[in-house]
Amino acid sequence: MSAVMDHPYASLPASAFWRTAVAGTEPDLPAAIHAPKFALTPDSRIATAGSCFAQHLGQALRRAGLEVLDAEPAPPGIAPGLAQRHGFGLYSGRYGNIYSVRQMVQLLAEVASGRPDPALVWTRRGRHHDALRPGLDPEGLDSAAEVLAIRRRHLARLRPMLARADVFVFTLGLTEAWQCRRSGRVFPSCPGVIAGRFDPDAHAFVNFSYPQVLEDLGRMRAALHGFNPQMRILLTVSPVPLTATAAGGHVLPATQYSKATLRAAAGDFAAAHGDADYFPAYEIVTNPAARGAFFADDLRQVTPEGVAAVMRAFLAAHGIAAGEGAGPAAEASDPVCEDAMLEAFQR
């Protein structure tokens, strides 16, 4: 006579066990890895933002036929490379990469006010850059006044886009950032890397902790609901490691700290709010079963196959026909990442 033990694990599905769900499963289509709290449909109007991995998501969602909003489309007929270098088509607006939740919160507040900070113009070789998207015009602009005029118009175009969005897909990228001591503004890149001048009296390093990230997520949700109270939030965490850490230690544990913090905050935030969800893109790409195959040779960028695995799982979970969205991009292009510029400074 066999004794059948009665305990919680006895009735769990295969997806709950590592051997069946990970070690014994192909990494490009992990079954039942996500059960959406709310369904995306072909009619959903999606806004995207976040760190550079989010560029892959937005492009894949478009390829899948979903409506990804674009407040600032590129001029018609412009070559894709030129458009991408100038921030077109990467997200739902030309805001560039938004690596931290704090940066997103600050952008939403700026959109609500419509008033850019005139101090946030950086210069390089006589050209002028928007400090909050310094890589946007690689050659810079003619004057500080032009930077601010373009930014004002940018903010004005984001407002109606945000009001239309049903779902806001945000990819958390980094906990490390540099901020302005005076205003508290965080920058997408350290002053002096792309433009501007680093000044230790004016700029401070910050490494956001779990409570700070969680609090910022709450502020982000409140700000988004200020544009559209019905907007739902879908969070992901970028699997792309840090290019460099300024926290004083080795970049590997710094990366793990950052990702663990973001992952925990995103998960807890989604669990606490019915209109927020977390999708495990980070886990799919870093899945040990992939044996690193979803990372490119630099061990940072995600391969087209990795993005495709993420999108297959995402679309399957939402019951959306994969179409072209779940396949590798026909012309895979590296995402535009300001933090990658740091590699130029390594010794």
Binding site: P76, L82, D137, E146, I150, R153, A156
Partner: protein, 282 residues
């Protein structure tokens, strides 16, 4: 004696129908050159390739078109002393670039237009230049340039003001004019064409007598335009506002010949650039 005359090839898209008609009607009016014409539809002049001194189509469809319209399969070009590329620069279509994307110095923006996207001048310039480099005329120029002969670039005519009747095709252009940006954008376009044409090619912009205002061609120089046709004259439809007629073509011929005469007189490329009355607009 005609054998001693310099040889000129006028090559282009459907817009060479106008100068060809003018020349066929009165070739004695331009006695200084032996002139041949070669035409292909739309952007197909950009799908010719120079191989061993011969312009050859790059695919079977263009080859068939080459035979149909020009009765040759390939065109030896080393014997020509000069070339004039007519059409294929895409001035009218360039209005789409600034339909919703403008820099601070656009007259409409200065006047308070708050609806467009504001972008940097360098982005717009890069986009415009990329568009011009990809135009059929510049692609053909890239093939001809190694020959080292003078090349003149002449844009297709500006549309007539009657094009407002076709907003689907000319909406962006009509809007460009209506909001007061046409002179500004046209000067920008001309500068960009001149920069991309150099070295070795000189643009000759629209003949002054053909202009109606800054951005349109006189309608009487467009009505009665004929299609590029190998045999029978075939009129453009009444709803065509983009092609010049034989009178317009005569003005183009005058521009070309005057520019080459200026060059032959030893004035050099700079003088060629100024030979057409409208060239200075660039």
């Amino acid at each position: 004696m005609s054998a001693a005359l310099p040889r000129l090839l006028v090559i282009g898209n459907s817009h060479i129908a106008a100068p060809r008609l003018a020349y066929v009607a009165d070739s004695a009016r331009w006695p200084t050159h032996d002139i041949d014409f070669c035409g292909l539809l739309s952007g197909n002049i950009g799908r010719l390739e120079l191989r061993d001194g011969v312009l050859a189509p790059t695919d079977p469809a263009v080859a068939a078109e080459m035979r149909h319209y020009n009765m040759v399969r390939r065109l030896p070009v080393t014997g020509y002393d000069a070339f004039a590329i007519v059409g294929g620069l895409g001035w009218t279509g360039s209005a789409q670039l600034c339909a919703d994307h403008r820099s601070l110095d656009f007259p409409s923006v200065i006047a308070g237009d708050a609806g467009c996207q504001l972008v940097g001048r360098r982005l717009l310039d890069a986009a415009l230049r990329q568009r011009i480099r990809g135009s059929a005329a510049l692609r053909l120029l890239a093939q001809l340039r190694p020959l080292g002969r003078p090349v003149l670039l002449l844009p297709e005519p500006m549309p007539s003001a009657e094009c407002t009747a076709d907003p689907d095709r000319f909406g962006a252009y009509v809007d460009l004019v209506a909001r007061g940006d046409a002179p500004f954008w046209q000067a920008w376009f001309c500068r960009a064409v001149a920069a991309e044409a150099a070295p070795g090619a000189v643009p000759l912009f629209w003949p002054d007598p053909a202009r109606e205002g800054v951005a349109f061609t006189r309608a009487d120089l467009m009505r009665g335009a004929l299609r590029l046709s190998p045999h029978q004259p075939e009129p453009q439809p009444a709803t065509d506002y983009a092609h010049g007629n034989a009178d317009y073509g005569a003005l183009v011929m005058e521009q070309i010949v005057a520019a080459l005469a200026s060059r032959a007189a030893g004035a050099g490329a700079g003088a060629v650039a100024g030979a057409g009355p409208a060239a200075a607009q660039g």
